[in-house]
């Protein structure tokens, strides 16, 4: 027959992030992936920062000054938001994986989105006014 198109393939990964026609569960899936990437990136950054400490106190102090810039504080806020979302959705995945509350998985997702937004506002305020 013809050259098959439309087949499953790792090359389709970017289609994960197209939510058209999809339901809330896909949003949970997409955000889980994005926050995971973000948190992993932050982990590497964190290791680099610690690496600076190994060089010497002056280099570290210079770096710490950079961290007080608004750009970096915003970056850290993103990490916090990602952590909140990823952790809460992780709980949702954990619960459903044990067969708990599966019929309510959508409601739980909406609940954790709300908690994430509340957390974002709270930490946004506290981190920028510190």
């Amino acid at each position: 027959m013809s050259t098959p198109t439309n087949q499953p393939s790792p090359k389709n990964w970017y289609k994960w992030f197209d939510p058209r026609g999809r339901d809330l569960g896909t949003w949970a899936f997409i955000l889980n992936r994005l926050t995971a990437l973000g948190l992993t990136f932050y982990l590497f950054l964190h290791l680099i920062v610690l690496g600076q400490l190994a060089i010497g106190p002056d280099a570290y102090d210079q770096f710490v000054e950079l961290l007080h810039s608004p750009v970096f504080i915003f970056g850290e806020l993103l990490v916090v938001i990602a952590g909140i979302y990823h952790g809460l959705n992780g709980l949702r995945v954990g619960l459903t994986s044990f067969g708990i509350a599966i019929p309510y998985q959508k409601q739980i997702f909406i609940g954790l989105l709300i908690l994430t937004i509340i957390g974002s506002i709270y930490f946004g305020i506290t981190m920028f006014t510190a």
Partner: protein
Amino acid sequence: MDMSHHQKDLWTVTFRVFRQKGNAAGHYDTFKLEVNPDEYVIDAVERIWAYHDRTLAFAHACHHSTCGACGMRVNGVEKLTCITPIHTVAKNGGITQVDPLRNFPVVSDLVVDMGSLYQRMEQVGHRPVLPLPEEPAGLPVRKNNGNEYVRLSDCIECGLCISACPVALSTPGYIGPAVLAGALQHGIKAAPALLALVDSEDGVWRCHSAFECTKACPSYVEPGTKIMQLRKQVVGERFANLFRSNR
């Protein structure tokens, strides 16, 4: 053209239909139809073939959600087109897009090759006919002259769940929601040979809880729930095996 729908106002709907022949690239053809909005999407597709374009290839058989042949994506959403009324996926004067299911190779136009699904269902030994499930109140199964009533199982192997699943999108080896739900029919205790198949990288652990499968299923299977139940069985069995082998 017999249009005896005199009691219902007809809608004008433009259908944008995916086409592909041979090795050529896919493209979309549009067809403007006068439709009874209470008719089903498969009726519109059939009419496109009958009156507008006889080269259109599409699959359909029972027209009452028991065969699983007519699954398509309508406006990007998986639907069993024989039970999807047009008014739920179209507006009068609007455009409705019809694509083949995802994650199966396209044979032509709206036809996909679901051989992998059937093959995997066979592998997990999914039985198409089963005794009726027990009454919810724990009452005994009603007997039929001493024989159990049996019933065709819920899963109609339509492939909608696999089309909707983001993991099936990227992972050719993933067994898939319908099949994992099918494996639950026997369960791990009754069929320990299934354990190796489902307790694997491409088995139950591939699922990442998008639950699009449950959303897409037209036939009461709830594959997402079944995958989680199967996980419990797998963990339970592995745990029990720890004690069995330590003698």
